[in-house]
Symmetry: C2
């Protein structure tokens, strides 16, 4: 079941083409970025979003920008590349995949310090391209491990969009849903609309409709009601950063879903690639939470909803303590509590 859309890819002349996620689902238009500033803007304005997808966008953006660095020495080249990477990392503070992707490109560049300078941009482009393809393979592996956990039949609830649009393709949480459907399981999906930016209503609903997987859209505050009525069997969500102890930052509202799932005895799983782990953080308390503009809450699509002058809070993420998470589904298998042991092991650190 290949996606019939492409989240991000190269254009024929080496620019970056991405599906503009701010315009979905009403318009399916693609944006083209020709330099790192445009990539940074696309990430900041969420034309491209989702932890894995913005990692790939950053890697591709660095590779593209590397072609235009005119430096006399490797040291000067590398300093410029580092600066470009830093500007991309600054766009969104919570998802760790952005920093991971930038570090990976810088490491590759370091390894090329004795190669003719003119060859490096091509090698970085090849690396970014490989990361993109690898991400799809990773998501299929996450789907394979994850779908084994899904009952049959199952009514699965997901929050935000951890789908093909949030990755290079296939998706993490939505990948688990796709894989369960591909395995012949009878799946129905509850899609949390996910205010304020409505990634569930706009993106997950759109993806699932294209994949032919039955889905019902609900407002975020209906999740508890349907759990209470016994109409939710399984919850799976993505992640933006996972601390060493399993505490998981994901889209605002994930924590509430996790507490409700626990109160109703419903399995709650996180699906994310190993690159989402941040083993340098002991707990979720150390994860920076991005605060976005209050207008995202007080307006929808530029249309004002709330009275003028009202204060609004807009944390883009929350942290779900590991104790609420039944397992973290990665491309290398499912990590279980105690995560301090299982996550470093899966990451190859232990």
């Amino acid at each position: 079941m290949p996606d019939d859309f492409v989240t991000i890819d190269w254009t024929d002349d080496g620019a970056i083409r991405l599906i503009d996620q701010t315009r979905l689902p009403l318009e399916e238009v693609y944006a083209v970025c020709v330099n790192a500033d445009e990539v940074a803007r696309a990430i900041r304005t969420m034309q491209v979003r989702g932890a894995p997808a913005i990692g790939i966008a950053a890697a591709m953006g660095m590779a593209m920008a590397a072609r235009t660095i005119h430096a006399p020495t490797f040291a000067a080249f590398y300093a410029s590349l580092e600066e470009i990477g830093a500007s991309l990392v600054r766009t969104r503070p919570t998802a760790v995949n952005l920093a991971w992707a930038v570090r990976r490109l810088l490491r590759v560049a370091q390894g090329l310090r004795n190669v003719p300078l003119a060859e490096i941009p091509g090698r970085l482009t090849a690396e970014a391209t490989a990361m993109r393809e690898e991400d799809i393979r990773i998501n299929r592996a996450i789907g394979k491990y994850g779908q084994e956990l899904v009952p049959n039949p199952a009514r699965i609830l997901t929050h935000c969009n951890a789908g093909g649009l949030a990755t290079a393709g296939y998706g993490t949480a939505v990948g688990v849903i796709r894989a369960a459907a591909e395995a012949g399981k009878h799946i129905k999906v509850w899609v949390d609309e996910t205010r304020p930016l409505l990634q569930g209503a706009r993106l997950t609903a759109w993806e699932l409709a294209r994949a032919g997987i039955p889905a019902t859209l609900i407002t975020d505050n209906m999740a508890g009601h349907f759990m209470h009525r016994g109409e939710v069997d399984f919850v799976v969500v993505g992640a933006d950063r996972i601390a060493r102890n399993g505490d998981t930052a994901n889209k605002i509202g994930t924590y509430g879903v996790a507490v409700l799932a626990r109160a109703h005895g419903i399995p709650f799983y996180v699906a994310a690639p190993i690159s989402t782990l941040d083993l340098s953080l002991n707990t979720g308390a150390e994860i920076p939470i991005e605060e976005r503009a209050p207008e995202e809450v007080t307006e929808i699509g530029g249309r004002r909803l709330a009275p003028s002058g009202i204060r609004a809070a807009n944390p883009a993420f929350d942290v779900t303590p590991a104790s609420y998470i039944d397992g973290i589904i990665t491309e290398r298998g499912v990590a279980r509590s105690p995560y301090e042991e299982s996550l470093p092991r899966l990451a190859g650190e232990a």
Copy 2:
């Protein structure tokens, strides 16, 4: 601190004037209803909403309609009045105040069976007017009992609008907040926006701004995050129908807030007049839940958000089990568990 708006009242020539809540907060316009059909439409389209307010609208609508009944006998008059009442009750199935108000007007009419027919409409109008004035007194009593429960200082979270707009004035849950502020307590309010119809963002935010009470608007899915961070001290919500055992139907999302409040050890109170009790129902499972049009979820302000063809659920209410409710604040005091005993006692039944 009198409200500087009038939710519902008579016009000089005996029609009903109500603030159009579908147009708030961007426009402050009033709708005028000149017959029972227009009142029914105003209730159905939620120009007037909130359990106590629609009860008063129904009573006023019946009294207004009674003036135009041309019947030769009391029996014929009463049959027409019953029919009008039934048409008003059908508009919204969950809030019991509607049926309560209609029954009250019918009972008054029954008591007038030996009075000249021409006098009855005036007596019904007087009764509806009394109900309106009584509702404000009731809300002030709810506020008085409720505010004693509010810590000082307190960051109070409320869901939907149980304010002056949901009543004849002052409000139930918002009445508790107003009374706490009037008592000099240092109050800040978290206002859940309350999807799909955004009564929090549009109405509660507007009311609190007018009352000069500091408020911060959040999306519904942020409530758990702020509770987890220790930034919520008290929760108070309204009610649309309360069963004999204390199970409470209120705006969709209330149940999720109650589960989250319990998980964080935060007091969760319901504020409602005695007329919201339905002692004929043993538990909340018997409360009918209104399902509204899916477009309320897939669109905002007529602007489509979700892909076409997506299914959406739209239960307007959920039921919070009594076990999650620390107390039900009424105009006769605060009912506590076991509610099967405390509620009938407050209602004067036991």
